[in-house]
């Protein structure tokens, strides 16, 4: 199938679904729910096709908006908005579409007793649209627009239940600080535009490599700070711990599984590896004694934040009594692993260690999206059935909700990293490469895992303990809530059975494509120059 032809539908379908939602919902409740499910399922189909195309051909799709070629008539640089999808983007697209479909399916049962649902489904589709846009875009300002679309939708969804003080407070905090972080990113884009006069990522990479100025460094600092906030890294992780428990559980699954990944990790990887291409700076310019940006220092910077995040996030998870808050802190800890992989991939750029670390980071991004989505969905089921998420009152759920507890067991085992499940392989790649790169980092990663295990053991003890009367009337939920959980469990088990095959066939090529040893990302854009 032709990848270029199908790519715009990735945006068109959710956009169409979101715009048509107010009209469709005039036809009633059933029509609205069916519409949301159909739209997300179609998006998943398109996303799978895009992923398959990119993975099969190993070529970067370059799609120009508004014309055949991004280059204007008679000018030698791209002037139009460009979408560029490499393998990392394609993987993120597939993950986003899959987890979003699960969240929409789950919402059918979970949000049944809420009002204002046409706005809810519109917002959820817009959230998905924003994330898909971030994953496929190749233009800096387009990236900012999609980032803000995603952020605004998630602010609104965190505060969706506005009759509770919790949602409002978390929404206020998330929104105000998040807007400042967004402003930092916009400021970085403005500085880059003022210095280099272009917004296309591939072409900015060329310009920065030709002339790395102080402005480029300041812009990079602003990008990194803003995106660290969006991904919930440690000194700025507090919004995450407040916002995820306050949101409805289906939204927590999307926030924790997707938003912090796509809006934070993916965007950071894209900016670090595609715009400030370390191949040019760390190897080529260094060899020719030209001025360059020291990318390995930036890698170490990210490693410092990653270590902090690892320790603080996982440790705070141990002492929480609120189940969803525990999961939220655990998300912070897992982001630490991903950042560690990313940082090592940058600091040890050009070696096999860096490549394995980067592959592990990408792998863990996908795995954690699936696992944490499952865990939040389980937490939602518990809230739905028992009505509390205080761990002190939830003992003995295993007797009354066996299927739910089984799903939680699988998710917890996977996130701790037990071998037959998918979390093991990705964590192992990160441990191994960090131990090879610097043993201290390996030790920090192991300490983080120890805290993580402690946190999940507490929850599992609670679930398998002696039943309290609070949980006596609880039972497994209806099919529309059970089905997404089962599908996610299935995904975890299947991905766990084929760990190294996935790693070798998908993740290592992805890391290689992202590292762009032969400037693939830039060449895919600049090779179109003659066609105008």
């Amino acid at each position: 199938m032709n990848g270029e032809a199908i790519l715009p539908y990735l945006i068109i379908i959710p956009l169409f679904g979101a715009f048509a939602m107010p009209i469709v919902s005039l036809a009633g409740k059933k029509a609205r729910e069916a519409w949301a499910v159909i739209i997300s399922a179609l998006t998943l189909v398109v996303a799978s096709a895009v992923f398959y195309h990119v993975w099969k051909t190993k070529e970067i799709i370059v799609y120009t908006l508004g014309a055949k070629t991004p280059f204007g008539q008679g000018v030698g640089f791209p002037i139009r908005i460009v979408w560029e999808v490499d393998l990392f983007g394609a993987i993120m697209v597939l993950t986003v579409a899959f987890v979003s479909l699960m969240a929409v399916l789950y919402s059918l049962g979970y949000m049944k007793h809420d009002t204002g649902l046409e706005k809810y489904y519109t917002l959820i589709l817009i959230l998905e649209l924003g994330m898909l846009g971030i994953a496929i875009t190749g233009d800096l300002f387009n990236f900012y627009v999609f980032l803000e679309i995603m952020s605004i939708a998630s602010y609104a969804l965190v505060a969706f239940r506005n009759d509770t003080w919790e949602g409002i407070e978390a929404g206020v905090k998330y929104m105000f600080v998040g807007s400042i972080a967004g402003s930092f990113i916009l400021l970085g884009i403005a500085l880059l535009y003022g210095q280099y006069g272009t917004l296309t990522m591939g072409y900015i990479a060329v310009k920065i490599a030709e002339n790395p100025t102080v402005t480029a460094k300041v812009a990079l600092a602003l990008f990194i700070a803003g995106l660290l906030f969006k991904s919930g890294a440690s000194p700025v992780h507090m919004w995450l711990a407040d916002a995820h428990p306050a949101a409805p559980s289906s939204i927590s699954a999307m926030l924790s599984g997707l938003v912090i990944k796509v809006g934070g990790i993916y965007a950071m990887a894209r900016i670090l590896f595609s715009i400030y291409s370390p191949m040019a700076h760390s190897i080529v310019l260094k060899a020719y004694l030209q001025p360059y940006i020291n990318m390995s220092a930036i890698g170490w910077l990210i490693i410092i934040f990653a270590s902090l995040t690892l320790i603080i996030g996982n440790a705070m998870a141990v002492i929480q009594t609120d189940m969803k808050r525990l999961l939220a802190y655990s998300s912070v800890g897992q982001i630490g692993y991903i950042l560690l992989g990313l940082g090592i991939g940058l600091a040890a750029y050009g070696t096999q260690t860096g490549e394995v670390a980067l592959a592990g980071a990408i792998y863990h991004t996908v795995n954690h999206a699936i696992m944490k989505a499952l865990l939040f969905l389980v937490a939602g089921v518990v809230i739905h059935e028992v009505g509390t998420r205080n761990l002190n009152e939830l003992s003995g759920l295993a007797k009354t909700m066996p299927k739910t507890t089984f799903a939680f067991l699988i998710g917890a085992a996977a996130i701790v990293g037990l071998p037959p499940l998918n979390g093991f392989a990705s964590k192992w790649l990160i441990y191994e490469s960090s131990a090879v790169f610097n043993p201290v980092l390996g030790a920090i990663a192991i300490i983080g895992t120890a805290f993580c295990t402690a946190a999940y053991v507490r929850v599992l003890y609670t679930f398998f303990g002696r039943p309290s009367e609070r949980v006596a009337n609880a039972r497994d939920p209806e099919t529309s809530m059970m089905l997404p959980m089962l599908l996610l469990v299935l995904a975890i088990v299947i991905m766990g059975l084929l760990p190294w095959q996935i790693s070798d066939k998908v993740m290592i090529p992805t890391a290689r494509m992202l590292e762009q040893f032969k400037f693939e990302y830039i060449n895919a854009l600049m090779s179109l120059a003659g066609g105008a």
């Binding site: 206020v172 460094k217 220092a297 440790a315 191994e432 490469s433 507490r458 609670t462």
Partner: protein, 115 residues
Amino acid sequence: MFGYWDALYFVFIFIIGLILAWLLNEWAKKSGMGTRETGDGTKIFISGEDPDKVVPGFEHLEGHFTGKNVMWGLTYALKRFFRVLRDDHTGLLTDYVSYLLITTGFVLGVILIWG
């Protein structure tokens, strides 16, 4: 360098761990004083929580393994560390903003000096 970890090693280590745990359990039973398999002395005792002990004000929780105390040892040993982390999360919007600014300043400093 990156020979992938074989799943078989995990099984071996798991078995060794099981044996170690069993040995530890046997040793503890022999050297412990108040534990019996049956009869009056039988109690399940997990990490400091005594199921028969009723905490005043928490009578409704009597006899539940709440998970509250499962990691009691860890939490107690690191309680100063945890208190620092807890106090750090003040919940004030202003503090969140200042953390964001501190992060930005740190990143900017590092990149301008070493970058």
